[in-house]
Symmetry: C2
Subunit: 522 residues, 2 copies
């Protein structure tokens, strides 16, 4: 018995076992699989195919709004569960604030309204009625709201309007609240998960007695996101400050984590904002400090959204379909029987259910797929496509030898091991896969990070290679905007860890003290 | 050492230990506590006071929309966690559909639009801009939507429009999907949790190949709600069919669970709808059955909302504040130290943290409150008010005797037991309390269920006593509406378990074969 079942074996297998129905399915599936455009051919199309064909999400009848299908939503549930634990471990609690924001609230913070006004969904009426000609329903003109309501694009304004009543003294601080919610930003060009009119996210909104404490919270939460991205999503990220052009509308400082996708574009994966006293001033939230002095409250906010599912897909997947990090995969292991008759299936099922129960006891999400209307080959391809990290196959020869075949999705390698060692091996494999896809992504990021010192090199990298470009910048918005205009590259962040280095701005030649991270971005 | 620390002891205690700050807090708290109107005096005011003063929720600046505060939201998180487990155990998966519904979708099912049109929030524009006179922002008239979007009041229409593309053959069925979401119904008179313009809920939407399977699912889910209400919420309920007047707009049949509140009014706590082929027909969702015949798909939907938090409060709480069932309480046990100096506090803290860790290992949500800016008495009242099921107090005498005082919120009784037996006792007490408040509510329901056979008795009960009224009804909408007009009582449901009984309609005197459940309702 070799470690790899070869192609010949598969052919022999099909010769013996495949009935016409199975054969037809196999052909259909192969046809379907071809609809997954190659990553190298058209990355955008590959991504879209993958999201739709892996049943993660689809476009809805409402412009820019997606339907998150059960398999995609299960990933979001896993993201939620892990993040929520991390938030609670750092002292936060959840709450829920209204979907609607009165238009007047929204405009109280000048930079904030400027940043969001162009993408707001507006509720103007609260009733429908039958049309006068009897052909359908119309908006009742008598049910016009005195003041229009904005569907929250983010909740700082409605939340700080509540905090005003909650905070009198330093004893009421800090407030450490998170909200899981849907938000709406009327984006003109949308893409499943990456940019949709409605999306799901969490938004933390905290209130503090001092500037130092708020800055500390802002940093703490970008670190929580970093840990989450690296440990759970297997996604290496660069932490840093946003420039004034790129920061959150209403923030003093925005920290972000930036990840590199396989097409060389950056994706902002999470942001944490130090809001200073801006929202406290806009909503008149003052408190009495320890010395009896009245002051405005200090604020932070931080968010991470369903966009992360897009990052997950784009960072790890390949031409055979999804590759999911075991820690977030809805299904971690699948067991597939290979059989030619009911008697064999019976025996295999007995063994498979025993293994399934062992694996479940070890906390592994496992499924036994004994459907008889698809061939094992079809199932192999299908679960590969769906990114299930580990596949266990059990055939008649395995029954004889007390073995099982274990295949891993990330490397597509297989091994045949004794039944007794399956559970231990799977536990270990899931860890290995989690580590391996992180390392692969880290390696990719390293190999695709450049340090040009000449403008022509910068342009060449951005135009022809893509990737993270660490270059000197003179610190002016003017230069930043000109670079964007000429190359579509933006400053993703000023990395916390980039270190001081004397140099000259890649564009203007003026002196610079550190490199910043440029890239084209999603 | 007696089982009860008496009032005298408390006075002595305060004489020795209370400093002025503590004393002031105590007075303040007693003043505050008086703001909780007595239940018997004004039930509606009692409820509202309780929700607000126990920090469960508050009204927001947006008409009819509430803010669910952390303590209230923690109850919702517990409800979600338990229900979600039950849904998954019965084969359901979660997904997410858009917040928005195109107006035209909404009106495709005639009864459905009729039922919801009057309470819809309507989005008409997608952009704001600076006003021409420069004084603020206005809705951009150029950004008018071609078709208005309705904020979902429920999602049948947008979901069945998606299902059309998901279902071709019986092999694609059943679809067993649930969604956790916010919905908006523009109610004119709102009350925290019970009736708000925006609320949180879950809505299940399933698709089946046969009528029988859909009916079975409808029943299965009303049974899940029943089990949840009784086992977790400690809330006895009556299951039954809604009459045509009361059923869901678009359903063939609605099953509901009805609970009795302490003021004698009924509250509909969860509904499960058999939708027949109504939505499949409205959205043209057909499938090929096992015999190759084309048919419309059969549907159910079922929902339970944040309204349940209102039911929880109204069913169990008293004039001292909340009484929460241990299985859903955000905090199940609190440990309070009674001390006069730092040395004592140190020793008590050592013991308290040991107990806390023991209790946490047993899966109990426990907090040690060693804040020194409030008296133990203030804390006692406060946690009583918040409905924490079990309180553990440890004072200097307990240290000497290796004892602790355990108090239960439901009966307000106390006992002093050895430290070694605390964890075991608390585990048992939490079960006892869960059982006791269920039994108390069941007893109340039984005592307040009436079986009148004369119209004058019926009216007298409804007007003067309240409660569940089981009475004969002739089965006509006409009679039902007349009874409602005269007494404000409606048929809450036709109970599954009421049994056949010959009788005469309480109102018309016409023959009837079973009693139905009447009540005034929330």
């Amino acid at each position: 018995m070799t470690n790899h079942r070869n192609f010949k074996f598969q052919l022999v297998f099909f010769y013996f076992y495949a009935n016409f129905e199975n054969f037809k399915n196999q052909i259909l599936y192969q046809k379907m699989a071809k609809f997954l455009t190659d990553r190298e051919e058209n990355y955008a199309q590959w991504y879209n195919d993958l999201v739709i064909k892996a049943d993660l999400a689809e476009n809805s009848a409402v412009r820019g709004c997606m339907v998150i299908k059960p398999y995609g939503y299960a990933i979001w549930e896993n993201i939620q569960a892990e993040l929520d634990k991390m938030f609670k471990a750092t002292g936060h609690v959840n709450a829920y604030f209204p979907l609607f924001i009165p238009k007047s609230f929204f405009s109280r913070e000048a930079a904030h309204v400027e940043g969001f006004a162009k993408e707001c969904a507006v509720v103007t009426h609260y009733r429908l009625k039958n049309s006068e000609n009897g052909t359908g329903i119309v908006v009742d003109p008598d049910a016009k709201l005195d003041e229009e309501l904005i569907i929250r694009p983010t909740s700082e304004t409605i939340i700080w309007n509540s905090y005003r009543n909650w905070i009198q003294s330093y004893r009421d601080l800090p407030i450490l609240i998170n909200q899981w919610a849907n938000v709406v930003r009327w984006e003109m060009r949308t893409r499943l998960f990456l940019r949709t009119a409605e999306f799901l996210w969490q938004e933390g909104h905290t209130a503090h007695a001092t500037r130092e404490e708020a800055v500390e919270e802002t940093m703490k939460m970008i670190n929580v996101y970093t840990e989450f991205a690296e440990k759970y999503m297997a996604l290496p990220v660069i932490r840093g400050y946003k420039t004034d052009n790129e920061k959150f509308a209403g923030a003093i400082d925005t920290y972000s984590i930036e990840a590199l996708m396989q097409d060389g574009k950056a994706l902002q994966a999470g942001t944490s904002h130090f809001l200073g006293q801006n929202f406290a001033k806009a909503f008149d939230v003052q408190f009495t400090d320890r010395n009896g002095k009245l002051d405005y409250v200090w604020a932070t906010s931080w968010g991470l959204s369903t966009r992360m599912i897009g990052a997950l897909i784009m960072a790890h997947s390949d031409n055979k379909g999804l590759v999911l990090p075991p820690k977030l995969a809805p299904l971690q292991t699948v067991i597939i029987p290979i059989f030619k008759n009911a008697e064999q299936l019976g025996k295999i099922t007995e063994l498979a259910l025993r293994l399934k129960s062992e694996l479940e006891k070890a906390g592994i999400k496992v499924k036994y797929d004994d459907r008889d209307n698809n061939t094992p080959g079809w199932k192999f391809s299908n679960y590969e496509f769906k990114g299930v990290p580990v596949r266990i196959a059990i055939g008649p020869r395995d029954l004889e030898n007390s073995t099982a075949e274990i295949a891993r999705r990330d490397t597509l390698t297989k091994e045949t091991i004794s039944v007794a060692s399956v559970t231990g091996r799977v536990i270990k494999l899931l860890e290995e896969i989690q580590g391996n896809i992180y390392n692969k992504a880290l390696q990719f990021m390293k190999e695709n990070t450049y340090y040009p010192d000449k403008w022509s090199d910068f342009v060449d990298i951005i135009e022809n290679r893509g990737g993270f470009v660490m270059a000197h910048w003179d610190g002016t918005s003017e230069t930043e905007l000109k670079i964007k205009e000429e190359t579509k590259a933006t400053i993703r962040c000023i990395p916390f860890d980039s270190g001081e280095e004397e140099g000259k701005c890649i564009f203007s030649g003026k002196p610079s003290k550190r490199r910043v991270l440029f890239a084209r971005a999603y």
